[in-house]
């Protein structure tokens, strides 16, 4: 049986762990709030962009000579998989879920005889993917220096992907991230980046009809505008994914730390009971020794 001193030490150590997890939970909660705000503020731009893209796409689609960003490079042999994860751990199954979804997709692509290149955003995903696809990982984008995701960061990633596409390094790009549903649920999601998927009129462009009946004049021309918007659209998609990911990460961390604090509480209760029992046993033992000593006289 553990001695009283051992038990006391364990209780103190679990208590200080609990303090840390509690603090981390609160920090995650406030960061989650901030991340959600950022995601909300970014929504108007993305919505308008979708609306315009939908309107333009309808009229341009199917025409020869459209931008390769829209129609693809004509092949689907080489895939670029962008896996967005977090920079830090201690956030429950967050990274594992994203990596698992990405892995499933990559394996099925490889089984189909496609070539896959991987671009990791965030160090945690790389650590998990390296074991399986070491040489396929072309680069890791480190986000640890950033306190919050800015559009410029997302644009830099998107630019990089675009330049690679222009140089013919891949044919199709997809991105994995966790869509934020609530602090409890985050859904690992796959999103196609290139060729740019056109938002359909049904979703994302519900109020298109308000101004959509009117015939727009285009300046310079529909094709030129689309040419200008497509790269920007890729940036917006990446930005949106990163924002969702940031919110999901904090949500997952909050939930994980809440569970950890509760576990620590349970452990403390159990240890305290054991500590008290041991203490009583020690007292009883001492009494018996004294009494039997006295009786022997």
């Amino acid at each position: 049986m553990a001695s009283l001193k051992d038990l006391r030490n364990r209780i103190t150590s679990v208590k200080s762990t609990q303090k840390i997890t509690k603090a981390m939970k609160m920090v995650a909660a406030s960061k989650l709030k901030r991340a959600q705000n950022a995601a909300e503020q970014a929504r108007p731009y993305a919505q308008r962009m979708d609306k315009v893209m939908a309107a333009l796409g309808q009229s341009v689609i199917g025409q020869p000579g459209s931008s390769p960003l829209l129609v693809g490079s004509g092949s689907d042999h080489t895939w670029l998989v962008v896996v967005a994860t977090s920079e830090r751990g201690l956030c429950g199954g967050f990274n594992t879920n994203i990596v698992r979804a990405a892995k499933r997709r990559i394996d099925s692509l490889l089984a189909d005889g496609k070539d896959v290149k991987i671009l990791c955003v965030g160090r945690k995903g790389r650590a998990q993917l390296r074991r399986f696809y070491g040489p396929r990982i072309i680069d890791v984008i480190d986000m640890s220096g950033m306190r919050s995701v800015g559009f410029a960061d997302a644009a830099a990633i998107a630019e990089r992907v675009r330049v690679m596409f222009d140089e013919g390094e891949f044919d199709v790009a997809i991105m994995f991230y966790a869509r934020f549903q609530s602090a409890l649920t985050q859904i690992a999601t796959e999103q196609q980046l290139i060729p740019v998927p056109l938002p359909t009129v049904e979703n994302g462009a519900g109020d298109l009809k308000a101004g959509g009946d009117a015939v727009y004049e285009y300046e310079p021309s529909e094709e030129a505008i689309l040419e200008d918007l497509l790269p920007r659209n890729v940036s917006v998609q990446v930005y949106r994914a990163l924002l969702e990911n940031a919110a999901s990460e904090q949500g997952a961390r909050m939930t994980a730390m809440d569970a950890a604090s509760r576990n620590a509480g349970d452990l403390i209760d159990r240890l305290t009971i054991e500590y008290n029992r041991t203490r009583q046993a020690v007292i009883t033992k001492e009494l018996i020794e004294i009494i039997s000593g006295a009786e022997a006289l």
């Binding site: 950022a38 503020q41 108007p44 315009v52 308000a210 015939v215 300046e219 200008d228 918007l229 930005y239």
Partner: protein, 135 residues
């Protein structure tokens, strides 16, 4: 009584302005143009330049520098999707000149397509800004 229309200035990070305005002058890629209430539906790309927002024809406008973007004019008003905006008053000219010089250097030293594109992009908005500041 002047008619008003809705005006929204949106950047990827947030909604910057949401106002009722009387008149807006935007730097279209084919030339500056003014938009008044009742303008025909129009979509246009923007070049780097100044956008002037008149909430009231009598008052001086609010002026912003846009690094480029996109404008949609519909029956209700206009929506500007801006890459980024800068308040022209807040710009340090010496700093800008230095930035331009640095970007030019980057341009000549660029090792790959990515660096080249980044430097070109920076210059694409810095130079017009410098031109505007001269006046």
């Amino acid at each position: 009584m002047a008619e008003l229309m809705s005006f929204e200035l949106v950047s990827p990070e947030r909604l910057l302005l949401d106002l009722q305005v009387a008149h807006v002058v935007v730097p279209g890629s084919e030339g500056e143009f003014g938009v008044l209430p009742g303008h025909a539906p129009l979509m246009s790309t923007l070049r780097p330049g100044l956008i002037s927002v008149y909430e009231d024809e009598q008052k001086p406008p609010q002026v912003f520098f846009l690094k480029g973007g996109f404008v949609e004019v519909n029956s209700e008003g206009l929506v500007v999707l801006a890459e980024d905006t800068i308040d022209p008053e807040s710009i340090d000219r010496a700093q800008l000149e230095q930035d331009i010089k640095n970007s030019m250097e980057d341009l000549s030293l660029a090792k790959d397509a990515l660096e080249l594109e980044r430097a070109e992009k920076r210059l694409a908005w810095m130079k017009p800004l410098q031109e505007i500041l001269k006046h």
